[in-house]
Every structure is written in C-alpha cells, then in structure tokens.
Symmetry: C2
Subunit: 224 residues, 2 copies
DNA sequence: ACTAAAATTTAGATTAGTCTAAAAAATATT
DNA sequence: AATATTTTTTAGACTAATCTAAATTTTAGT
C-alpha cells in the first residue's frame, strides 16, 4: 500500500482530486495541464505512470479519475496541507493569503506521526483558515453545507464561513475590508442592475460586487 | 544572491559543511560520497555544478571547500533543521531519536518568514534536542565549550549538555538509561583497564563504557 | 455525414541526478 | 625511484520529469 510517491506525483493526484469535485465525469488532460501550469503532453506521460501504479483509471482520450487508493492519497495530502495552514495562521502569525505557498511545501513531508501529532497539537481543527474542511485521519471530509452570500435577501444576517476563490488578491481584499472567518454580515441592500450588495460589516457599510458575493460561503443567521 | 537550490544541492552543501568541521583542509570526494551514501562519481558531478554556482571551491583531485556564500546557505539549512527539531520535541512529543529524519525533510522548506516565525515561536532556542547549537538569523554559531564525560575524574559532578554521536541506537540507549539533556551525573569510579566508568544518574548507578563517555558533552559542576 | 477545430497522444529531445566501468592522478610501499 | 594501491575523474548509460512539434482522435458545426 505504501509506495513512495514523488512530490510531482502527489501534486498530480491532488490536482485530479480537486478537479473531480467540479466535474462529475473523468477529468480532462487539458484541465490538469492548466491547473498544474504544465503541458498536456507532460500530463499524458504522468497519467500513464499513475495508471500503472493503479492510482488513477485512464483510457486514452477518455480522461482520468482517481482509484480508491489514489483518492486516499490525495485526501491525505489535502489533510496535511490544511493542517499546516492552521498551524501557520494560529501559531506563526501568517495571514491567510500567505499560507498557501508554504503549505504547498509542507504537505509533502512524509511522517505519519508528524501529521497525527500536529493534528492533536492544533486540537483537531475541522476547517482551515479559508474555511475549507480538513479531512479526518480516516479521510472523511465534512462537505460544505454553506450557501453563497449572493443568495441572501435584504435584511438577512449571516456569518462568513469560507471562501470559494482563495486567490491572493481576493484574500487581501477581504482583509482590508475587515472580513474574516466568523465575521457577521447583514445585507442592507441589493442593486438589481449589477447584482451588487450593500452589506454591513461591524459598524461599516460596504458595497460588494457579485463577483465577491458569489465567492463567499456564509451561514444564514436566524433573524428572529 | 538568491539562486534556488534543489534539495539535493542543499544536502551536498550541508554535508560539505559538516565534514569541514572535522578536517581542516579541503573535503575529499570520497568522504562526501560516504556521508551522502552515494558514489564518488556522482559527487564529482555535483561538485562541479556547485563550483559553477560559486558555492564551493574545487580543483580537480584537490577536494572541495565551501565559499562564503556556500557556507551561508549551509548554515541556514542547519539552522532550519535544528529549529524544527526543537519544535518536534517541544510541541509534538517526538523523542530525540525520532526527530532527525523528519527534520531532514522540513529543513528544505523555503520561506524566510517561516523560519523567522518558528524561531520566535520557540522563543529563540540556542540548542537543539541533541545539544547542538542553533545558528542565529545572521549565521553565527555558538561553539561547543563543553568537555567530554570521559575526561572527568572520580568524584566530579556534571550536567549533560549534548551528544557527539547522535545515532538512533545511541540516543535510544541514553533514553533507556534516563540520561537526557540537563541530567546531572556524578562519576563514582573509573576502571583503568577498559576506561569504563561507574556513574550516578538520579538515584541509579550505571556502568558506562568509554565508547559512551567519549560521546557525551558535559559541563563540569563546582563541587564545593 | 463530412469537415474543421480542438483536444490528446506520440516521438524525440533535454535537464537533473544517478550509476558502472574504465582511465587518470595522487599517495603509499618497498 | 619504481611500482602498487587508492582516490578521483571521465565516459557513457539510465530514470524522472519536462518540453516542442507532429500525428491522431474526438468533438463541434454545418
């Protein structure tokens, strides 16, 4: 079970996993190439290799999907990535737009004990700093039950739980607007013509475009 | 100044650095090969590459030495290695014989902020769990001022500060004998014929061979 | 259904790191 | 000083991961 994978192989599995969440069928060669910023021909080569190792199912021209074992490995890497993100933010004072590239490196460190102990040390966190769920030691992932801010109505109140787009620029924008995980937000108004919203964050009023409201996971609050 | 080195290149620099501490002249190809468990021919190839990058000085058949820049890089890696070791022992409950192989991986993670913050988080430790000094952010290393246990006389008392040999088997032996960093030890007797010692550790009496007493750094205590 | 366009794969090269076996240089031995 | 031994380097080959350019297959458009 414990074939030793290179960082590159691990990155391919991770990419295929996250692409599988978006499309229901097999993942295309091109989409993997795009995600990993490499060429389609390189993807073909690697996919063949992973197929021989029985980590993906692959038939020429038909795209790829992860096998059970491939998925297990991908989830383990994602687990490590997100645990490290929690560590960096909680203990090393990283901001949520800085953690990703460091976690990309830390996720490849191989040590079962390290992951276990880190998890315990962080007190078994369930979500990373972007609000994404952290798979447990058995690979179970709590799925996003949240809704998008954009779907709320005027007068609704909600709490920010996560971001869909976690690009640096988006995260920086949120930071400067005072929006963090756990922040309470009330919808004051919605513009029909461009679907922008006026929201209340703390004591401030803020206008947010649909581009933004469609990328914020929130939990609706009872407004009794 | 900031050429991006591969993990392999970093490991070569580290190996050359630590070998330089033992011999005063240039380091031999063979000794590097032995340390890295690789072949001499591979070492020659890599040394040429590092030489082109101006990280080592190299003349055919004459051995290698680090340039100022090469040494700086080596020291930075060692700093990271030892900081991670402290983290693993202090916070993740690793024993001192378990930390090395994980730290070997963590030391290659590239992020200036990570190292800085980790250092601060650990409260600027000066020594790793084996008693080895941790280079500061400027690359300065406090040198071992300790002496060997084997050099003490009957009746002397000392505190254990570090180990010279940090092989797993040695560390495990120390663990099982109740000898840790900071442990107080008194020399009860010395056997002339094999240079073994009877020492007092806590309430226990223990016989240790010269092989052991020559590998323990200690600080002599005033026995007023 | 046929053709044009897009996606994918193959073929052949390239780079990093490694190896074995042979050649060359340095060191040790008599 | 001449030879034997050891060390080091070179030459040539291999694997992993990548690329470009050409060939093939699928999909989309009419």
């Amino acid at each position: 079970m414990n074939l030793d994978l290179s960082q590159t192989e691990e990155n391919y599995l991770k990419a295929i996993f996250s692409l599988s969440l978006v499309v229901s069928k097999a993942v295309s060669t091109n989409s993997i190439a795009q995600k990993l910023e490499t060429k389609a021909s390189s993807v073909t080569d690697m996919v063949k290799k992973l197929s021989e190792k029985k980590l993906v199912d692959y038939k020429k021209y038909q795209g790829v999907s992860l096998t059970v074992e491939g998925k297990e490995i991908a989830v383990r890497i994602i687990r490590k990535h997100r645990l490290w993100e929690v560590f960096l933010v909680k203990h090393l004072d990283f901001s949520w737009d800085e953690v990703h590239e460091v976690a990309e490196q830390l996720e490849h460190v191989k040590s079962v004990k390290l992951t276990q102990q880190l998890d315990a040390y962080l007190e078994y966190p369930t979500h990373d700093p972007h609000g994404d769920p952290i798979p447990d030691a058995d690979g179970n992932i709590a799925h996003h039950t949240e809704i998008m801010l954009s779907s709320l109505q005027i007068g609704d109140t909600c709490m920010v739980l996560g971001v869909k787009d976690s690009s640096k620029s988006f995260l920086k924008y949120l930071d400067s607007s005072g929006i963090k995980l756990g922040t309470d937000v009330r919808v004051l108004n919605k513009e029909d013509f461009d679907n922008s919203m006026i929201i209340e964050v703390g004591t401030k009023e803020l206008s947010v475009s649909q581009q933004i409201s469609k990328n914020l996971f929130v939990k609706k609050q009872q407004n009794d």
